[in-house]
Amino acid sequence: MLTIEHLTKCYGGDVKAVDDLSLTVMPGDIYGFIGHNGAGKTTTLRAIAGILSFESGSIHVNGKSIAEDPIACKQQMAYIPDNPDLYEHLTGIQYLNFVADIYGVSAADRDERIKKYADAFEMTPRLNDLIGSCSHGMKQKIALISALIHNPKLLLLDEPFVGLDPKAAHMLKTIMAELCNSGSAFFFSTHVLEVAEKLCNKIAIIKNGKLIAAGEMDKVKGDESLETLFLELTDNA
């Protein structure tokens, strides 16, 4: 599904935000990505999403290179940043229709998915509101619905649980599990280690741009809690 090989991204000449990072996300994976602030999580996610150029390495989505064929890659992906700055001048439904049009979602499919996910996140009655008038959590919900509307194979989420109310957070976890069962994959960053531990089947830990641990959750953390492992690795590695 997603193959990253020796990814390196530099800022300002020598400062390596991501340093020789390699990992693979398989269909059905819920892959957590953790690290301290400024470790390189967002940079990695943005590079995979095709938003950021990188100096060396490669990123392939279902065999297609993001550098060489970005449109084909993006057609299969959805990305939500940590702070979803959406088009404030559009209403929720206008934004969702715009996203559906760009991804070529048929009228029947979009009707079904908007209804399904807007109902799930309790957003249906508010879809006529301007996005500019919505709270952070509501914007996050609209961003999530827009990410799900084209049934992507790979979802890249940067801190997806921030701003969501407990019910919406639970709903997101349910949707993640449901989509993974149908062959999609999630690669997401989080600071909530309990969520990562319970939800993810794989985990990657990044420190100062370098991947210091990655793989199956059980194998990576062993008998320890994810929190203990994270603190050990990030303090000592």
Partner: protein, 531 residues
């Protein structure tokens, strides 16, 4: 006072993106920032050069008629009117409805200090224009009049003082406009209409005053023409002139007292109403409860165009700054249809054929003023990630932006071309150029706007004014349009050659093709570099 300076420092540091350039670590972004600042500096020099030219021409004419001090009054008047218009437009965005309102208001600072720091930011921006326009006039006056020594320090003091008053008046008018329209259902449309009327009003006042030149009986005494004009339109400009030319103490005091009084009045009033007005603007009405029904499917191209259209009409500042060129174009067409003789007289053009040669270039310049593309990439702001993460080619994205310019320009050119053709009855060739040249300008400057804006974006704005009015790309496009309209027009009238129009047309078409090919070739790479 301490709070005011801290807040002002914060505001001014973001002005012209200087702080970002100083502290940015990403080399690409740093280069982009430097390029934008470089363009801005170049444009300031261009404006200064124009001011030197105009000041010298006006100064020579006034000296001939023995009324040299009028140069100071007329330049002060022009600068003040320009600043007044800028301030009205900038109020919503800089003073009200700015992005960091919540965080600023959460600090333990006086509301008056917040309001004053925002007004000072408007003043600081306007001061750059005032300085560039007034300094050459002051120097040329000094060379021609050899004034006493006290003139020099006083001039510097008054240059600082003069922009304050129109900034405050503009902020007050802008505030009234914002308050009056904030609860209207079509508040943006109302804002656009009122701002257009204001701009046209100011233009008509200046043009009517300019008509006074046409009265030969008054030419003998220039002062008779100008003094009441300046005083009638904007008395502080006359005080500025009197203070500098005659050292008039009452004039100095009037200017100083009125400025201080309006500052105090505005800050006092804003202190009481700042939060209320901002809350009113920020509280957007809730839409009707949405009921799921069948959604309409559009193609990707059409979706991108609809998105651009919604963005364009969501900002009254964006609309007024761009559509103004087209409104001016149609107004010129109507004037030529209804009162062609008056236009000839006003422009001091002896006969219709000279005007028919000139018109296509003037319409072309107006079309270049209306281009929406020069700030359309900057307008993506923090939402740029959406387009960058979508399966959209740079070509499709840029085409949608160009189509907005074409949507506004093509009907305006067709209407104006027809009005001009009926009004002036030009020959077949001139009639064809009346349509073709403005169209060529539209395409060339539409593409130029994109070409420059993708290299000089302003994406980190907190108020739309930063992207629309303060962006280097906008300045480059506007000034390039002036040059591209003015030079061939002068050549065509001076030489009377029928070749100027086709050569200009060929250059514009060539320029369009080259820039568009470059954008299509490098668009993906350039889009990826935008942050």
């Amino acid at each position: 006072m301490r709070e005011f300076w801290i807040l002002t420092k914060l505001q001014v540091s973001s002005l012209f993106g200087i702080n970002k350039i100083l502290h940015m670590k990403n080399e690409d972004e740093k280069k982009q920032g430097k390029r934008a600042l470089g363009a801005l500096i170049a444009m300031v020099f261009a404006l200064g050069y124009m001011s030197i030219l105009y000041s010298y021409m006006l100064g020579s004419a006034f000296q001939l008629f023995g009324t040299l001090p009028t140069l100071l009054g007329i330049m002060a008047l022009a600068t003040s009117l320009l600043i007044l218009m800028f301030s009205i437009f900038e109020t919503k965005g800089v003073l009200f409805g700015f992005g960091d309102f919540d965080i600023v208001m959460s600090w333990p600072v006086n509301v008056r200090a917040v309001a004053a720091s925002r007004v000072f930011t408007m003043y600081a921006y306007n001061f750059v224009y005032a300085f560039v326009l007034l300094l050459p006039a002051g120097v040329i006056y000094a060379i021609m009049a050899a004034p006493p020594l006290w003139y020099y320090p006083l001039y510097l003091v008054l240059i600082f003082l003069l922009p304050a008053l129109p900034t405050i008046i503009g902020a007050l008018l802008g505030t009234l406009l914002t308050v009056a329209t904030s609860r209207m259902k079509k508040s943006n449309l109302m804002n656009v209409l009122v701002q257009m009327v204001l701009v046209f009003g100011l233009m008509i006042v200046s043009m009517r005053s300019g008509m006074a030149f046409q009265d030969p009986s008054k030419l003998a005494n220039f002062a008779e023409v100008f003094r009441p004009m300046i005083k009638g339109i904007y008395p502080p400009a006359q005080w500025f002139q009197d203070a500098l030319a005659t050292g008039s103490l009452p004039a100095m005091l009037w200017l100083l007292l009125l400025t201080l009084a309006t500052i105090a009045l505005l800050i006092f009033w804003l202190g009481k109403n700042f939060v209320v007005i901002n809350s009113r603007i920020k509280s957007k009405p809730r839409g009707e409860t949405f009921v799921m029904k069948r959604q309409v499917h559009s193609t990707r191209t059409s979706a991108l165009f609809k998105r651009e259209l919604a963005r364009y009409f969501s900002s009254s500042l964006y609309v007024v700054n761009t559509a103004f060129g087209y409104v001016m174009m149609i107004a010129a067409g109507i004037a030529l249809l209804v009162k062609a003789e008056d236009v000839l007289k006003f422009l001091d053009i002896p006969e219709v054929p000279s005007l028919t040669i000139l018109v296509p270039f003037v319409l072309g310049w107006m079309a270049s003023l209306g281009t929406t593309t020069a700030s359309s990439i900057s307008m993506e702001g923090k939402s740029l990630w959406i387009i960058k993460s979508m399966p959209v080619s740079a070509k499709d994205w840029l085409s949608a932006k160009l189509k907005i310019t074409l949507m506004l320009a093509i009907p305006s050119i067709l209407i104006t071309g027809t009005l001009v053709t009926i009004g002036l009855k030009p020959g077949l060739l001139d009639a064809i150029w009346t349509y073709l040249l403005p169209l060529a300008y539209t395409f060339a400057f539409g593409v130029l706007g994109l070409w420059v804006n993708i290299r000089m974006p302003r994406l980190d704005w907190h108020s739309e004014a930063e992207a629309i009015k303060q962006g280097g790309a906008t300045m480059v496009t506007v000034f390039a349009g002036m040059g591209a309209g003015f030079l061939p027009a002068v050549l065509a009238v001076a030489t009377g050659s029928a070749l100027v129009a086709p050569i200009t047309f060929a250059i514009l078409v060539g320029m369009t093709i080259w820039m568009w090919s470059s954008l299509v070739r490098n668009g993906e790479r350039l889009l990826l570099l935008l942050h």
